[in-house]
């Protein structure tokens, strides 16, 4: 009952062009049936994410560990709430990040859980930069 070959094949890596995404905007792409949020973060959002005391977080992880160095403005996370799988809404909530409408979990501008029932941060999918304006997810 595990995924069949065609499902696995359809889950191959995808490339996303980032050049049309302006600062402060974000796009949602689907990979393996999951929504992936790609946010072009503002300076303010990056600073907020880095100012927080990592040890005080429910799921401690530094912002540096969640983005690729040299591309700090890009946050790439799987947009599925780690509580029960709803899709959080971008640019909502008290932390300039994501807000899940189902059970009220709030994530910050680094996709880390800050408030609510979710146990973990929004996961970062495997991806790398193929060029400065293009990433490959998967």
């Amino acid at each position: 009952m595990n995924p069949d070959a065609s499902t696995i094949a359809a889950g191959a890596p995808i490339e996303v062009d980032l050049s049309p995404v302006a600062e402060g905007q974000d796009i949602k792409v689907f990979w393996r049936g999951k929504p992936i949020y790609i946010s072009h973060r503002t300076k303010k959002q990056i600073d907020e994410a880095r100012a927080v005391n990592v040890a005080s977080l429910p799921d401690p992880q530094s912002d540096e560990a969640r983005v690729k160095s040299g591309h700090e403005q890009w946050l790439v996370v799987i947009g599925i709430c780690t509580h029960l799988g709803c899709i959080p809404i971008a640019h909502e909530g008290n932390y300039d990040g994501f807000f899940c409408p189902c059970h009220g979990s709030q994530y910050d501008s680094s996709g880390r859980i800050r408030q609510g029932p979710a146990p973990a941060n929004l996961p970062v999918p495997p991806y790398q930069f193929v060029s400065d304006t293009k990433i490959q997810i998967g």
Partner: protein, 690 residues
């Protein structure tokens, strides 16, 4: 099932069979000669009601499966086509969907009955545990069945419930992948859920056989909780219990039919009339009412794993009930303290059900925690403690003693009424409609609709005018993809002739092909064609409308609702009010205001609408006075246009509504006569036994 039978058929052919397979003897000893306690009350008829419901679900389900397509792209449409095109498909679907709810109503009564009268106690532990297994199987079946229509609530319910398993340490994620058959809920998930949804009812039927077998070995419990001692304590199953069960089933069918014919969407969620969309989560994900108490327990525990354990534990704990409650006296009738705690427990369950439907915030969370503690305390503290400290009243020596002593006593009816009220309460608490259109907006004003109430009919003139408004105004952006031109000539609709419908169709250009040269071509529409959509796909619709795709209108009056709130949803059950959708649509069309009130900011490209959730709607004011000309002299005002087009859209959402209400009346007349007949037959049969 209760020992070797001495039954001998008189027919030689049957004798021949009986010598080789004593099936008639088995039937005779199980359902004819089987001695049943003579003091059973009507709460004992729920076993028969449940058997009836299981049969009903399997029968309607098998027929529905003949018409259903388990594919993520086609499932929603195939369900709509069942309702619209299959002969009596609307009836089958309502019977099956409402039947699931009724099945759970009956099983909850059955379980509370067992709880009250101590039916789980020695020697009926295995019987009780088999019952808990049936209940678990029912929950799994009900959940998977709810996924099959592939609406928004189906999809997101499936996502939330399957994600529960990800809470299991280490293996959780792999289990979830196994359930999905992919990387998220999708087509493979739908396929396996369909397969399992077809399989599980037969497993339930198998466990029901074991359940009945165990029942017939241990014998039925009874309201006094003393075992039958002599022949005087029992009556033969047939005709006594059979006829009583028939009466019980007939009464239950009245409730069942009320929902099927008059309130088919009362227990459902408006969001499930929106096709599944993996990119948009509905604002409130609410499971079906029968899971709400457990959902409330899940949400009240702040830790994910602990929440999941709490939720499943709340059901599994029932398996241990025979050992948690060690009191010797079975029936709560003779246990003054246990009786009171039982009723408190019932109220706790109902309140948990109510909280399960509320958003998880503020007071609701705290109340949920308190009640969760109460729920578990009943099993883990109250029952074990009561067994030690409670002093039960003396139980009668035998059932016949109890029957003689009771003549003229009125305690049972009182308890029965209380249970009935509690049950009704739980049903209503769970049936709170989703608050799809309620967030931060005004409640739409009520309207007088010609199609409301038990004898409601569509106003033909309004349907025809509404069609005109749709065609001239709405159709430039909104599709009507489930409606075919032929429907315009069908009974219960706008009453056009077949020729008129064909002429109407021929005004449209429909894309067809490929032809022999392999090219697509356009031709005039035929009655069998569906209304063409204004945009080729959702992306095109989105791009042309500032990022918000205009929704298809076929089902809009059923896919929109607003929160009625307590206590209105209780009155709605009796008044058959279910016009939230039309009220909302009509209010929305008239709710545009040029002047934006203080404190509301409307983004550029949006318009202020008083009734739209969040007030900022992408659709500009669609209707203005005099825009569409009417031939029949009706006023050409926005109010009239809204009313007409809403009536028309109610018809497109449910083209067989008139047939439903008409048949409903006939069924009610029949059922009332049938129930009366059963009642008097039962009286006659039991006359000598009382």
């Amino acid at each position: 099932m209760s020992g070797p039978s001495d039954y001998q058929p008189s027919n030689p052919a049957l004798q021949w069979i009986e010598r080789r397979l004593p099936i008639l003897g088995l039937m005779h000893s199980s359902f004819v000669a089987y001695p049943t306690p003579r003091n059973l009350n009507y709460w004992w008829t729920f076993g028969a009601i449940l058997s009836f419901m299981l049969g009903m679900q399997i029968l309607t389900g098998v027929i529905l499966a003949m018409h259903y397509t388990p594919h993520a792209d086609l499932a929603f449409k195939s369900v709509e086509l069942i309702v619209r095109d299959v002969n009596y498909g609307w009836l089958l679907r309502n019977m099956h969907a409402v039947g699931a709810s009724m099945f759970f109503v009956a099983v909850y009564v059955h379980m509370f009955r067992g709880l009250y009268y101590g039916s789980y106690k020695e020697p009926r532990e295995v019987l009780w545990i088999l019952g808990v297994i049936i209940y678990l199987l029912m929950m799994a079946t009900g959940f998977m069945g709810y996924v099959l229509p592939w609406g928004q609530m189906s999809f997101w319910g499936a996502t939330v419930i399957t994600n529960l398993f990800s809470a299991i340490p280490y293996v959780g994620e792999s289990i979830v992948t196994l359930l999905w058959g992919g990387y998220s809920v999708g087509n493979p998930t739908l396929n396996r859920f369909f397969s399992l949804h077809y399989l599980l009812p037969f497993l339930i039927a198998g466990v029901v056989v074991l359940h009945v077998w165990a029942l017939h070995v241990a014998g039925q419990n009874n309201p006094d909780g003393v075992e039958p001692k002599t022949e005087k304590d029992t009556v033969p199953f047939t005709p006594h219990a059979t006829i009583k069960d028939m009466f019980g089933v007939a009464c239950f069918m009245l409730l069942y039919a009320w929902f099927i014919f008059y309130m088919p969407n009362y227990l459902g969620d408006a969001d499930n009339y929106i096709p599944a969309n993996p990119g948009v989560t509905p604002p409130h994900i609410v499971p079906e009412w029968y899971y709400l108490p457990f959902y409330a327990i899940l949400r009240s525990i702040p830790n994910k794993l602990a929440g999941v354990i709490g939720m499943f534990g709340a059901i599994i704990i029932l398996c241990f009930l025979p050992w948690l409650d060690a009191a010797k006296t079975r029936s709560s009738k003779y246990r003054p303290l246990a009786k009171q705690f039982f009723w408190i427990f019932v109220v706790v369950c109902i309140l948990l059900g109510y909280l399960g439907a509320q958003p998880p915030e503020g007071i609701y969370v705290i109340a949920g925690r308190v009640l969760t503690v109460c729920y578990f305390a009943y099993f883990l503290i109250v029952l074990p403690l009561l067994a030690r400290i409670e002093k039960p009243r003396p139980v009668p020596n035998s059932i016949s003693d109890a029957v003689l002593a009771k003549t003229g006593s009125r305690s049972t009816p009182m308890v029965s009424t209380a249970i009935m009220l509690a049950l009704a309460g739980s049903l209503f608490a769970g049936s709170v409609d989703s608050a799809k259109a309620s967030e931060g907006s005004d409640t739409p004003p009520g309207n007088k609709w010609s199609f409301s109430g038990p004898f409601g009919k569509f106003d033909r003139g309004a349907l025809q005018r509404g069609l005109k408004v749709y065609k001239e105004v709405c159709a430039s952006c909104h599709g009507l993809s489930y409606v075919a031109f032929r429907n315009l000539a069908e009974p219960g609709g706008p009453s056009y002739s077949v020729a008129q419908a064909a002429a109407f169709a021929s005004e449209y250009k429909v894309k067809d092909g490929p032809n022999d040269a392999g090219d697509m071509f356009e031709r005039a529409g035929r009655p069998a064609d569906y209304f063409p959509s204004p945009f080729p796909n959702e992306q095109a619709a989105r791009a042309a409308n500032g990022g918000a795709a205009p929704p298809d209108l076929s089902l809009i009056t059923k896919a929109r609702s607003y929160k009625r709130g307590f206590p209105w949803f209780i009155f709605d059950f009796f008044t058959q009010f279910q016009e939230q959708g039309p009220d909302y649509v009509s209010a929305l069309l008239q709710g545009f205001e040029d002047k934006v009130p203080e404190g509301v900011t409307i983004p550029e490209g949006s318009y202020y609408n008083k009734y739209f959730p969040g007030h900022a709607i992408k659709m500009p004011k669609p209707l203005s006075d005099g825009q569409v000309t009417y031939d029949d002299g009706s006023p050409t005002t926005v109010a009239q246009y809204s009313k007409d087009v809403t009536t028309f859209l109610m018809w497109t959402a449910e083209p067989h509504m008139e047939a439903r209400k008409r048949l409903g009346f006939q069924v009610f007349v029949f059922l009332i006569l049938f129930a009366g007949l059963m009642y008097f037959t039962k009286k006659k049969v039991w006359a000598s036994s009382h």
